[in-house]
């Protein structure tokens, strides 16, 4: 029997650039040309000022651990508990949900505000997920 699969995102026309980015090893955000607001998740207009003039750019991939849970049960398909579900605040401002790799999934190791950097985990040949690891140095 096949292993249960992790939930797999299905891009839409508005989010395709983000998933193209992760596949290429880039974390892409959007910035409003009119008011400079940086936002996530993707959409072709600024949720702050409604301008449709927005630019996709490569984010630094740096951020910090904003909050998390360590999920024990019920576990999502494709996950082995306990595993952390984290929210990362990016250096550019937006926050995103992710997982923390290369780090014990314990309250002692997962310190709020710890510095993180993006890494990329390929689910298959189409979808690569952005995950984060403790920043080096």
């Amino acid at each position: 029997m096949a292993e249960p699969q992790r939930a797999r995102p299905k891009p839409t026309p508005e989010t395709q650039h983000f998933w193209d980015g992760t596949k290429a090893g880039e974390l892409r955000l959007q910035r409003c040309d009119a008011c400079a607001h940086v936002y996530f998740p993707p959409r072709p207009f600024c949720p702050s000022c409604a301008s449709r003039k927005v630019t996709i750019f490569k984010a630094s991939g740096k951020g910090f651990l904003y909050s998390y849970v360590i999920n024990h049960r019920p576990a999502a398909p494709g996950f082995t508990p306990p595993y952390a579900i984290a929210v990362v605040e990016l250096a550019e401002g937006p926050r995103m949900m992710s997982n923390i790799i290369d780090c014990p999934q314990t309250p002692e190791a997962l310190e709020l505000d710890m510095k993180l950097e993006v890494a990329f985990e390929a689910l298959d040949d189409k979808i690569t997920l952005p995950v984060f690891r403790p920043a080096k140095g």
Partner: protein, 379 residues
């Protein structure tokens, strides 16, 4: 909206609460509705306005044989019924209908005639949350807790005390699912669900339903039950993605809905005799006390741990035992409203003596939506 122009004249829960293996979700809607209609001394044909959530209004109206001239299918999660009360009050005041029935029911445990909740893979949640292992409310709702604790210096023991205090209320309530006393140590030693939360800090999963009937305050005096007036109301929505909340230190939806209701009612916090804050998980009363302006968030954990919300305390909170101990079918807001109405009628199992103003605050989704109703039994 003007205060006290509309009143609750019928209120009832399903005949049974808890595990109900012999009724579908739709039949639970009907059971609650028929009980509320009997409570109000009405006939089904008297109902000309109808609201419900999750199930469509047409589904429930057809099943019951109701032919409404006003309907509301607002479905924003567990606080949908607070929004229905607000909308119904406005509709009655505007003359769109005279007598509104609001129903909730959920076969949350037995899952009979209930569509499973699913997250489409191409939704924003499906793309930007589901792939990271969220799986149901216990893995999502507590995500803000650690940040909230760090910001305000809230302790694990204080968050455990929420469950302890609510169990004290539940012990007074024959219909509560969980009545045995618990200690802070019991909570902190219960099975880990999603750190920092353990089993006893997570809501129950049960079957049940409830219904309310509203009409104009002028008509309300002719009904058999003591009218409970709608004094103030508020509502808002924020984001369906917990990761995209403006901050984890408060709920923007709470901070919009709560103050709106207080302002409309023209009351101050010291006027509140009885309070319900939808407690799907143990942190919600802390968010609620802070976001509704009862006290700074820093003080909320100590306030509850010190016993201020327990039986005999100065601010009775979640007096039915709450979602943690009374029942939680999945969309608990209706049961919070039912308890506020019972308290205002003076018939609650754990009645707060001489209570005249009750604030009932609901949440939908994971801080996605909010509705607040201020009730009074004096016009």
């Amino acid at each position: 909206m003007r205060s006290n122009q509309v009143a609750v004249v019928g209120a009832a829960e399903t005949t049974e609460l808890g595990i109900i293996p012999n009724a579908s979700q739709l039949q639970l809607h009907a059971d609650a509705a028929l009980n509320a209609i009997a409570d109000a001394g009405l006939k089904l044909s008297d109902i000309d306005g109808f609201a419900t959530a999750v199930e469509t209004p047409q589904q429930v109206c057809h099943y019951l044989g109701i032919k409404p001239t006003w309907v509301d299918g607002t479905s924003v999660g567990g606080c949908s019924f607070m929004l229905h009360v607000r909308h119904a009050a406005a509709a009655i005041e505007a003359g769109l209908c005279k007598t509104v029935l609001i129903t909730h029911a959920e076969s949350g445990k037995s899952m009979i005639g209930k569509a499973p909740r699913s997250i489409p893979a191409d939704s924003l949640q499906g793309q930007f949350e589901a792939p990271f292992g969220v799986y149901g409310p216990p893995s999502m709702f507590p995500i803000p807790v650690l940040r909230f604790m760090k910001t305000y210096g809230i302790t694990h023991e204080q968050l455990a005390s929420v469950a302890v205090v609510q169990r004290e209320w539940a012990a007074k309530n024959p219909r509560a699912m969980m009545k045995d006393p618990i200690t802070v140590a019991d909570v902190l030693n219960s099975r880990m669900i999603a750190y920092p939360f353990r089993l006893l800090q997570c809501c129950l999963v049960t079957d049940g339903g409830g219904a309310l009937i509203l009409t104009s305050a002028d008509r309300a005096k002719d009904f058999p039950r003591k009218p409970v007036y709608i004094m103030g109301t508020g509502e808002s929505v924020a984001t369906p993605m917990v990761s995209q909340m403006e901050t984890f230190n408060s709920s923007r939806a709470f901070k919009t809905a709560g103050p709106l209701a207080f302002k409309e009612a023209g009351i101050a916090h010291k006027d509140v005799d009885h309070l319900m804050i939808y407690d799907a998980f143990a942190h919600l009363p802390l968010f609620g006390l802070g976001d509704l302006g009862f006290m700074p968030h820093e003080e909320t954990g100590k306030f509850i741990a010190d016993g201020n919300t327990r039986p005999g305390g100065k601010l009775p909170l979640n007096t039915n035992g709450g979602g943690l101990s009374y029942m939680h079918s999945g969309m608990y807001g209706m049961y919070a409203l039912q308890e506020s109405v019972r308290q205002m009628r003076g018939i609650a199992p754990a009645q707060v003596a001489n209570a005249k103003i009750s604030v009932c605050h609901g949440v939908g989704g994971m801080f996605a939506a909010s509705g607040t109703i201020v009730f009074t039994n004096e016009r």
